[in-house]
Subunit: 438 residues, 3 copies
């Protein structure tokens, strides 16, 4: 009986635990309370942050949710489990972050915490992309339960101990989510997952996926700019992301066609690789000061992303046994690494104190002459160490998680029902008919 | 001939009447006119309100419109009549509200009036959800013609005579729209409406519906916060709604699976009950000051909403003859009542003057010591009276409207064509083929 | 071989040229750079402009992209080529505009340039609507390559030499794009384009198109208000557009039904003509000061747009050989002309110095008493000259472009594959089956 009710029991217990922990430790920040001072309100910058928060919110729930509806028989799960998993992770992430910032036995919640909880859920949803179609709802929850604290503590170390600048989260969100998911997929690999007849799209599910893709594309500038510290940096981050994306999109189409023997575009590239420019410029969105640099970063990202889909994903699947349903390695993994490396390159070849003027110490606090006063090269090393830590921790924790998820004690998806809604959702009468067409 | 041209003639006459009334009585507020003073502009708070207005606008037209596309043969009507009905109601609501606030023979229009007109259209679109598939376009218009003034005058009485706090409109928008719709459905009930072969979804129409659902979910914080009087209250309303929704979503999945004998989720619950948390926290979105209260409200809402779909909707339909196409009772009705009761409970168990500090008199103007100076318990009674008035007026006026709508003088939907586009829209050649699949 | 690789080679060369030109001439404006002064930041008005920019961004990529998915076999192309073409045009438009505003050998980029690049891409996407289904990806790029500089230089002349007020771009964006597209379609006309079996929708592609349509409808107020110079004018432009759209929508439904012999609505009208109110009020969105004027403009636009679809589109196609796939003449062309004529009428019948108070010289700089000091009638003539210039230049340049596009040196779409994705996109197995249904 416990076997049958695993999802209900586990999730209910977790949700009740959340109630208790929020009751005991959570409270609203003063900027959201009746005794808010004008300074509190200004610090919360509700007016300028709220639209960027909502843009990010659209990316999480419409963007990720619909991008994953491309599978012909897994649309209900894609958009629904995305909603469930994000709702679960948002609470869990607020608690974890809260425990890392307790003051007088409480952590505080304001608009910023809602936004960073959305960011944290992005990590999990990226990993979900690699595991898409292979887990039961309960296993997705379990994955988030394990991954969220590791991701947030790692980010905390990277940002606060190594003072890494990662304004758009390309290292801490995209790389972490992608490599965790890939390692998890490796540990969870079973033969029937590969070449499964359910894996594929129909004409209309590819169009559903474009709803998610295009909204991600549109609002990515907000994602990369939202937590930049100063207004000019936010505007620059918006412009850099915008330019990176347009160049990335053009290159995606060029490479997609060039690598196809029938000179046709592939919707997988259009829906995913066009977004790689948003990832690749993320870490440096507040640092790049030349428009053409943003264009070049985007162009490079689109190119490697399509090449990834064409060459690296099959290699990972066939040779290394890493099955990556959505190709998160090409959208989040490699472009995330690229972003980290670009941040190193810009520090080694440029001079942040010149390029960023007085704001250099806001972007790179360890370089502040009143503080640690490290050199640009030392900051470059820090950035590289950040990339390395995230890569290492995500792969190890992802692999362990995949191993835990395949334990027999959990209900597993049946071999014939990978990438299919039927076992977990009530489906209308046409489900078999329309989604089996090929 | 008049019979055939009913829609054209009636709607054209109404639209011409609108032109005349707007010409005679309407003018722009000074904040939207060239002689605006800095004070006018600050009062209109364009910069902070406009994004919340646009979020609400998305909810009305994409949210409601696509949520109702789940019916397999009624997608054209759902999204199109939603657009028409809202466009009609927006004008009608502006006029009614205008006549309640005439000054020197004119009423004024600024951004706030656009927003409250959107709110008013939400009332009608909720009622439309209960009647979905049963009315002709003309009858929908007729319903709005009758319902809009009743809803707005009732709201006026509740807010201005009983000084009810209902910042997110759970009482005046959601409850009113739902119970009006249910009473209307009762009076309009005809046997062929129940168990109709057209009533049901297909795989892709359920996914279309999720576009509406997820956008409603994302932007609900703006709906509940937009008209809160102070900036900290708006931030709190956003956070309360956000937290209520995530807990509601988790509970929806738990209860949906737990109540199903095959342990499957039901897309009707996923698309609707996950939103009940937005309704249930609406009335008190500016009042709740503990994050875990918001979580608990949301969890309760998700739970009762799913139970409603499983048990109460069938009971209403089979025993009471109230056929509720979209289940608005579960998404808007009961959660709206819950929100009203929570507002009573918080007043009876707490102390608003402590919790809300100096802002208590903005939230509860009747409690202002310079004014009526009523007690918290008296305010609780007022809140309860507000719920009662809305329930009474909505049921009575809805029932009368349903009776009027079934009069033979109006063109009625044919029995075989309930929940179907074919009689009112030109349909492509595949309409019968793809939407008859079961 | 060059023939096969036309797209790759041409687009790659253009993108590399863009890199070089951006590197040599482009830089960020000071408001997006670390040395931004408070004055710079205020001038860029990031907080108030960014939400309107993002609304416009949604219109360009979701709005236009999904509105064009109505064709049953052309959905991949519609949303994908829309994304590609806009990404290309955004860069190209920034460069052209940049060269018109070089200072010290550089042009600057801030949020405003991102927004005006979006506007410029709207011009091209409107022309794409007329040519939809007839061009190969490379030909669409070629069209933008030719059209963008002509459109921007023409706009520059109209705005800066004739001081035309066109705040919502109805003349310079909508009219230009539409008449360029129509002339291009005329020059490109081939017999098999008319009455093609691929031209038509399916039930679900019409619903996909409504996603685009409704988002355009929702965010149009931002499009018309974004670049208005003063805050009260922006609020007025929002309200005028909002009112114009609701009246337009009601009239669209009335006329669509009235003109149909079976008294059915046509989804082509619902998806397109409801938007004509946004176009028709565009030029005068900051000038109209009476709410009912906005309602009347919208009502007129909806009426002529539906009549256009019913009577003028068939006439253009059958008698003049102008095949307009999306009917851009009815959504952008005639309503754009109407907007220009309304601007003339308002100047001839009103007194801007009274209606617009001290802001008249911001709206009509040529009327400034400290400057050219022209009369309202002279300004009316200027507005009319602006309409005339745009009409003339767009038709001539569109015709020449259409002629160039049909040259044999370019790969042409095969006669059987007009309005079909199959030659340019990898398509899933159900493509033929589901999209050939009629």
């Amino acid at each position: 009986a416990l076997q049958t009710h695993q999802f209900t029991v586990l999730l209910l217990l977790l949700q009740i635990t959340f109630f208790v922990l929020f009751a005991k430790f959570g409270k609203y920040a003063r900027s959201a309370m009746p005794d808010a001072t004008p300074q509190d309100l200004e610090g919360a910058r509700m007016t300028s942050l709220y639209p960027m928060f909502q843009d990010t919110h659209v990316m999480i729930f419409i963007g990720f949710g619909f991008l994953m509806t491309f599978l012909k028989r897994y649309g209900f799960s894609a958009v629904s489990i995305n909603l469930l998993l994000a709702s679960f992770t948002i609470q869990w992430a607020m608690l974890i972050r809260g425990f890392l910032s307790l003051e007088d036995g409480h952590f505080t919640i304001s608009l910023e915490q809602l936004l960073t909880a959305d960011f944290a859920s992005a990590v999990i949803l990226i990993s979900m992309g690699a595991m898409l179609g292979k887990l039961s709802p309960m296993q997705y929850i379990l994955m988030s339960l394990l991954e969220t604290p590791v991701a947030i503590v790692t980010e905390h170390v990277v940002l606060h101990h190594f003072h890494v600048n990662d304004v758009g989260g390309s290292i801490n969100v995209h790389m972490f989510g992608a490599y965790f998911g890939l390692a998890c997929a490796k540990a969870f690999a079973k033969k029937p997952q590969r070449g499964h007849e359910n894996e594929g799209s129909t004409y209309h599910t590819d169009i559903f996926a474009m709803i998610g893709s295009v909204f991600l594309w549109i609002f990515w500038p907000s994602f990369n700019a939202a937590v930049a510290a100063t207004e000019e940096a936010r505007q620059r981050a918006v412009a850099n992301t915008f330019l990176s994306l347009v160049a990335c999109t053009v290159m995606t189409f060029i490479v997609s066609q060039a690598l196809d023997k029938h000179r046709r575009f592939d919707m997988v590239h259009i829906a995913n690789s066009t977004l790689a420019g948003g990832v690749a410029v993320g870490t440096v969105a507040n640092v790049v000061v030349e428009p053409y640099h943003a264009l070049l970063i985007g162009a490079a990202a689109g190119t490697i992303s399509v090449i990834g889909y064409k060459l690296i994903t099959p290699f990972l699947s066939n040779k290394l046994g890493v099955h990556d349903t959505c190709g998160v390695h090409n959208l989040h993994g490699m472009p995330g690494v690229l972003s980290g490396l670009v941040s190193v390159l810009l520090l080694l070849t440029g001079n942040p104190k010149v390029e960023l003027g007085t704001t250099y110490s806001v972007v790179y606090p360890a370089m502040d002459e009143q503080g640690q006063n490290i050199s640009a090269s030392a900051q470059a090393v820090n950035q590289l160490v950040g990339v390395g830590i995230v890569l290492l921790v995500s792969v190890v924790s992802g692999f362990i998680t995949g191993f835990i998820l395949r334990l027999k004690i959990w209900n597993q998806v049946r071999d014939t029902e990978y990438f299919a809604d039927g076992d977990f959702f009530e489906t209308p009468g046409d489900y078999d008919f329309t989604s089996r067409i090929i």
